[in-house]
Symmetry: C2
Subunit: 190 residues, 2 copies
């Protein structure tokens, strides 16, 4: 900044979607690629945040929204300092996500990680759907709690139809398109 060097614009990639849709899987590939192509990256994963910022919060709408707004508060500070932030959180309510969008402004990039719930339940990586359908989890998103899809996300990933690497490629392409990453030159001109 002080010597007129190129400043990287910060951004927040906000992965939203059902449990098991592939948010973390895709965002981990994206993180790795970002680290190679860009200096500064921070990951705010839903679970890490629940431990460090939101211990004690439950899964009521109010608590979920508080959790999302806290992630947003931290993401905003990082974004405005030129960091590339990768957020991976179910964040089921549109209103809270939209509040974060307004708060962060231009750098907010909402990525809807879409996957039919039957496929998520079939994957059931954490064994949570089984318990939710058995009635053991009273506020499980998609089963016993609502999920409100984004109305106008910057990107939709259909993880039942594409491999994680392909989804990650789309995210990187979106970052290039929006001017947050320089395109990689794949061919020399000679």
């Amino acid at each position: 900044m002080e010597d007129g060097t190129k400043i990287e614009r910060g951004f927040t990639l906000w992965f939203t979607g059902l449990s098991g849709a592939g948010k973390t899987t895709v965002s981990e590939i994206v993180e790795k690629q970002l680290r190679r192509r860009r200096g500064k990256v921070e990951v705010l994963d839903g679970d890490i945040v629940r431990t460090n910022l939101s211990k004690g919060l439950g899964f009521s709408r109010e608590d979920r929204d508080t959790n999302v707004l806290r992630i947003g508060f931290v993401a905003k500070m990082l974004t405005r300092n030129g960091i590339g932030v990768v957020v991976s959180a179910i964040s089921p309510y549109k209103e809270a996500r939209d509040e974060v969008r307004r708060d962060i402004g231009d750098g907010f990039i909402e990525i809807y990680v879409h996957c039919p719930i039957e496929v998520c339940a079939d994957r059931d990586v954490k064994g949570l759907y089984k318990r939710a359908y058995a009635g053991e989890l009273p506020a499980f998103t998609g089963v016993s709690d609502p999920y409100e899809p984004p109305a106008a996300p910057e990107l939709v990933l259909n993880t039942d139809q594409e491999k994680p690497e392909e989804s990650a490629r789309k995210v990187m392409a979106k970052l290039e398109e929006l001017g947050y990453l320089d395109p990689v030159e794949e061919f020399s001109r000679a």
Copy 2:
């Protein structure tokens, strides 16, 4: 980073001390000077943080420590990305501050804003000491709740003996001494 330009090292100035000792007053001057001399600065003020990260937390030891560790969590992320972070929080317990110190590592700079409690109570900017001495505030640091001074802070400010501008100057000098700021050239050599 990618073009070998000078990278600014991040740091966390952690102002600790009694209510009314002058943490916010001094840190606001420091913030202003840092913004002139350095690109990236973020302020994590105790009150702002209580609103955005710690709503619902009270003033038990556990809640105070949770609050301090949350500030530390955010400060660490900013610090490792080259940001200059200014934290202003009573943070009365040594153990929690030391945990943040370990977590942040080198960039953690603890500033003990020292002022005799009689002077703080005399200033009583927020009218809180009056209420605390009247027994209305059950967990007020220094009156009805402990304050554990730092054992080996990087800097001690005696705000009953020096003006805020002088305290701020000492902070800036400490940052220069520790290599986080280039010294200002006040005289030309000609």
